[in-house]
Symmetry: C2
Subunit: 480 residues, 2 copies
C-alpha cells in the first residue's frame, strides 16, 4: 500500500526520449515501433529521439545523446544494445530522468553470468539514483489515459481492466483480442525480467489504483515468493484478479527461464495460493481474455441457471454438454415459458426445451418474443444466444446489417430490463464476408453492453469461473 501511490508517477510521463531508433524508415520493431505507437495513440508531450548522426527520424528531431536534449525528460525508452545501457543510465541520472524502460534484452535471460551481473549492476546504480526501471526485455506500458502505447493499434479510450504481464507479446495479444470485444484498459504493463519493478509492485499498484476495477496477469516466474503471495492475497480481496501462470510443465519452465530468466516455481503451490486468496487461475491467454470480458460485461450472476437460445440441434446438444461440464445448470423451462415459446416456434425440427433450438430467432418478431419470456422466467439467471455469420440462415437474410443491429439492440434491452446477463457466442467465420459480419455483430453487442465469446464452450468456462469466484466470496447461494 505505501508504495502504490508512490508508483503512480511512472504511468504519467510528461516527455519521452527514445534511444535506439533506426534511421531506416519503416523499421517496425524496437525503437521505431515505440515512436510509431506513441504517435498513433497521440502522446501529448514531446518525444525526443536519440541518434548519433541522423538529424530527424519520423519527423522528430534527433539528439546525439540524452544530455543534448535542451528540455526536461522524465521517461526514457531504451532500444540500444545491452552494452550501451550503462552509459545511457549515467545520462539518465545526469538528466534527472525518473523512469527507464529497457526494451533492451540480452541480460539475465541469456543464461550468461556476465550479463546477469551487468543487469544487477544497472539496477543497483539506478536505485542509488532514484530511477525506476521497467524491464529489461519488455514492451513497457500501454496507458490510454496518458496516451502511452506499446504497440500500434491500441485504442486511446481507457477502461477498467489493468494487466500485469511478464511477456510483451502476451500483453499485446491480450489487448488485440480483448479490444474488439469491448474490453478497455486502465494500465497494461509488460515488465520482462522484472529486474527492478516486479509483478508484486505492479499488482500492488493496480489494487489501489482507482482507475482499475479488474486485474488480469500473465506471470512466468515467482520473484520474492512471500511478498508476491502477500500482494496476491491483498489484491484478490479488493478486486477480481485473474492469473495465467506459465511454466506449468518442465518444458514450459525451461522456456520461461530462457525468455525472462524466470524461475517458475511449483504450480501446485501457486495454484493453492490462488485458491486460498480467491484469485482465478486460468490456463490460456484465451481464457484470460474471456475473464476480462466477463468481469467487465457480466459482472455477476444471481445463480447458475443458464438458458441457451440458437438455431441448430447439433450445436444445442454440444452446448448443453459444454455448459454443464463448466458447472452451469440448464434448468427445464417452466410450462408458462414453454407456452409462450410455442406461440412463435415451428414444431418440427426445433425444440422449446432448454437448449431452445428455434428458427424464430431468424425472424424479427420471433427474436424478441423468444428472449422475453425466457428472461422473465423466475428459474433463469443468465441467457446465452449463439449464432454465426457467412453461412447458414443468416447468410441468406437480405439485410444482415439491419437484422444484426436489431438483434443486438433487443438483447441489450432484454438484459437491461430483466437485470439478467445476456451473453453472445459467435461461431468462428470461415470466409471474409462472415468474418466482417462477425466483427460487426460483436461490436454492436458490446456497445449494447453484452459479453461476447468465440464459442459456447468458452462462454461456459468463463461463466463457470465467475460462479465459483462469487461462491468463494459468499456472493450467491451454493447450488445443490
Amino acid at each position: 500500500m505505501p508504495d502504490a501511490p508512490a508508483l503512480d508517477f511512472i504511468f504519467h510521463p510528461k516527455s519521452i526520449a527514445i534511444a535506439g531508433v533506426s534511421a531506416k524508415e519503416g523499421a517496425g520493431f524496437g525503437g521505431g515501433g515505440f515512436v510509431a505507437s506513441l504517435q498513433e495513440i497521440g502522446f501529448r508531450g514531446p518525444i525526443y529521439l536519440i541518434h548519433p548522426t541522423a538529424p530527424a527520424i519520423r519527423g522528430l528531431k534527433c539528439y546525439p545523446s540524452l544530455r543534448d536534449i535542451p528540455d526536461d525528460v522524465d521517461y526514457v525508452i531504451s532500444s540500444v544494445p545491452a552494452r550501451f545501457v550503462p552509459q545511457l543510465l549515467e545520462d539518465c541520472i545526469a538528466k534527472g530522468v525518473r523512469v527507464l524502460h529497457l526494451f533492451t534484452a540480452g541480460f539475465t535471460e541469456t543464461g550468461d553470468a556476465e550479463r546477469a551481473k551487468m543487469e544487477q549492476a544497472i539496477v543497483a546504480r539506478a536505485r542509488e539514483a532514484g530511477i525506476r526501471i521497467i524491464g529489461p526485455n519488455c514492451m513497457g506500458l500501454y496507458v490510454p489515459a496518458s496516451r502511452l502505447a506499446m504497440m500500434p493499434g491500441q485504442p486511446p479510450e481507457p477502461g477498467p481492466v489493468g494487466m500485469v504481464s511478464q511477456s510483451g507479446m502476451n500483453a499485446g495479444e491480450f489487448v488485440r483480442y480483448a479490444t474488439p470485444r469491448g474490453v478497455r484498459c486502465s494500465k497494461v504493463i509488460s515488465f520482462g525480467n522484472g529486474a527492478d519493478l516486479k509483478a508484486a509492485d505492479f499488482l500492488e499498484y493496480l489494487a489501489d489504483d482507482p482507475e482499475t476495477g479488474i486485474i488480469v496477469s500473465y506471470l512466468e516466474g515467482i520473484q520474492d515468493g512471500p511478498r508476491l503471495a502477500r500482494v496476491i492475497r491483498r489484491t484478490a480481496a479488493l478486486k477480481p484478479l485473474v492469473i495465467l501462470k506459465s511454466g506449468r510443465t518442465e518444458a514450459g519452465s525451461r522456456a520461461a527461464n530462457s525468455h525472462t530468466a524466470s524461475l517458475a516455481g511449483s504450480l501446485q503451490v501457486f495454484d493453492a495460493l490462488c485458491r486460498q486468496a480467491g484469485a482465478i487461475r486460468v490456463e490460456s491467454l484465451e481464457e484470460l481474455t474471456d475473464m476480462a470480458v466477463t468481469f467487465q460485461f457480466v459482472k455477476r450472476l444471481s445463480g447458475p441457471n443458464i438458458v441457451v437460445v440458437g438455431g441448430g440441434g447439433g450445436a444445442s446438444v454440444l452446448a448443453a454438454d459444454d455448459l454443464a461440464a463448466a458447472g452451469l445448470v440448464l434448468p427445464q423451462l417452466l410450462p408458462e415459458t414453454q407456452e409462450a415459446l410455442a406461440k412463435v416456434t415451428d414444431e418440427a425440427g426445433t425444440s422449446i426445451r432448454n437448449p431452445i433450438d428455434t428458427t424464430s430467432v431468424w425472424e424479427d418478431e420471433g427474436f424478441e418474443a423468444t428472449f422475453r419470456p425466457v428472461a422473465e422466467a423466475p428459474n433463469v439467471d443468465v441467457i446465452l444466444y449463439h449464432t454465426g455469420f457467412g453461412t447458414g440462415p443468416m447468410a441468406r437474410v437480405g439485410d444482415v446489417r439491419t437484422r444484426m443491429a436489431r438483434q443486438a439492440e433487443t438483447l441489450g434491452r432484454v438484459q437491461r430490463e430483466s437485470g439478467k446477463p445476456v451473453v453472445v457466442a459467435i461461431r468462428p467465420a470461415t470466409n471474409v464476408e462472415g468474418f466482417q459480419q462477425s466483427l460487426d455483430f460483436q461490436e454492436l453487442c458490446w456497445r449494447a453492453g453484452l459479453a461476447t465469446y468465440p464459442s459456447i464452450a468458452r462462454a461456459g468456462v468463463a461463466l463457470g469461473h465467475l460462479l465459483r469466484w462469487q461462491r468463494m466470496r459468499g456472493d450467491i447461494p451454493p447450488t445443490p
Copy 2:
C-alpha cells in the same frame, strides 16, 4: 461386412426427386436448400421437384406427385410435413424408389407417442418394400464423387475422410471448418433419428469403403449397443476412427433426446469401448476437425519430440506448456543444431533453445536456415511453426503474399526432404486484412501438404491423440 457393399447404392443415385420445395424463390432452408446445394455442386442426373401447383421452381420442372414423373427415380428427399410422409412413401414404393431421405422432422424426437408410432410404421412399411430410409430429421448425404451436397459451399473434390453424424448442423460445420484446412471427404452422412439406417450401418460401410481412409463421427445416442460396439471395434481396427460423443452430461443427454430422440447411454461405458477398440474419443467439434486434418496431413509421427519455431517469447513459453501438457516432448537442441541456428539469429530478445523464438523467421534466408538444421537433427520428430497475420512483424512486411508463398513452399519442401511432419499454427486474426491473409496462408500450407491449426494448443492436443493412437497400435516406441 456383408451389408457394406450392399449399402453402396445409396451413395450413387442416378436421379433425385425432392418433395416439399417452396415455390417462393430464395427459401434457403429445407427443400429449396437441397435444390440449391445439388445445383451448386453439379449433380449429374436429373432433379425432379414435386409441388402441387407450381409449374417450375429454380428452373426445374415440377410434378404434382412423384407418380407423375415420367422417368425412373431412385432417390427421394422429403421436406414435406411429417403427416404427408406415409403417402409419399407409398408413392416411392409405386415408383420403385430405393432410398428415401427424410429431412422431415417431427417424429420420435418430439417425445409424442403417436409420432413415434408413425415413425415406426413408416420404417416397417419401407423395409417391407425394400426401401432404405436416411433419417428422419437429418440433412442426408454429401458425396463429392457423386456430386451430392447437403448444404451450399461444399466442395466437389473428393478426399479420404468419411463422416457419420447424427446432426446435420454438426456435419455441415465439420465440412465448413475442415475444408479451408484442406480436408476433403469421401462420404459425409447426417442420419438424424436413425430410424432405419443407423450409425452402425454407416460405420460398417465406411470401414469397407475403399474411398475412405479416415473416419470421424458425431454421435448423440447409442442404438443397438452390442452391434454398435462390434462395429466400432472392427472399424477402428481397419482405419483411424475418431468419435465425438455428446450427452456426456445429464443436460447434454436431455438435449440429445430432444434433438434426435437419442438415448445417450453411459459415457464411461462408451469411453471404455473406445479405448479398448483403439478409437479416439474427442470432446468437441473443433477437436474432431483437428483429427481429420492430422490424419490426412500428418499421418504418423516417428516419436514424441517436437520443436517449436516462431517469433514471440510469451507465445513460446505458453507453447511449451501446452505441448508438454498434451503429451509431447520438447527436446533440448543438440549443440550442432544450436550452432547452426546461432548463425542466423540475433542474440538479444530471442532464443535458440526449444522453443526457438527468433526474428530470423521474418527474413527469407533466415527462414529456411532456421528450419533446415532443426529438421535434420536426429532428436526431432515433428516441427511446429507458429505465426499470425494482420498485426506484428508480418503485417509490416511489404509483400506479404510473396513472403507467405515462400514460407509455405519452404516448409513443404523441408517436410518432404526430411520425412518429418511440419505443422503450422496460425493465430486467430482480429481484422479483415489479417483474416484474409490467414486464409491465404492456410491454403498455401495445405496445398504444400502441411497440417494447419488455429492455435498451438489445438495442434498439441491433436498430435498427442495421434501419438497415443500409434502407441496403442504398437507403432512407435513408448517414451520414458
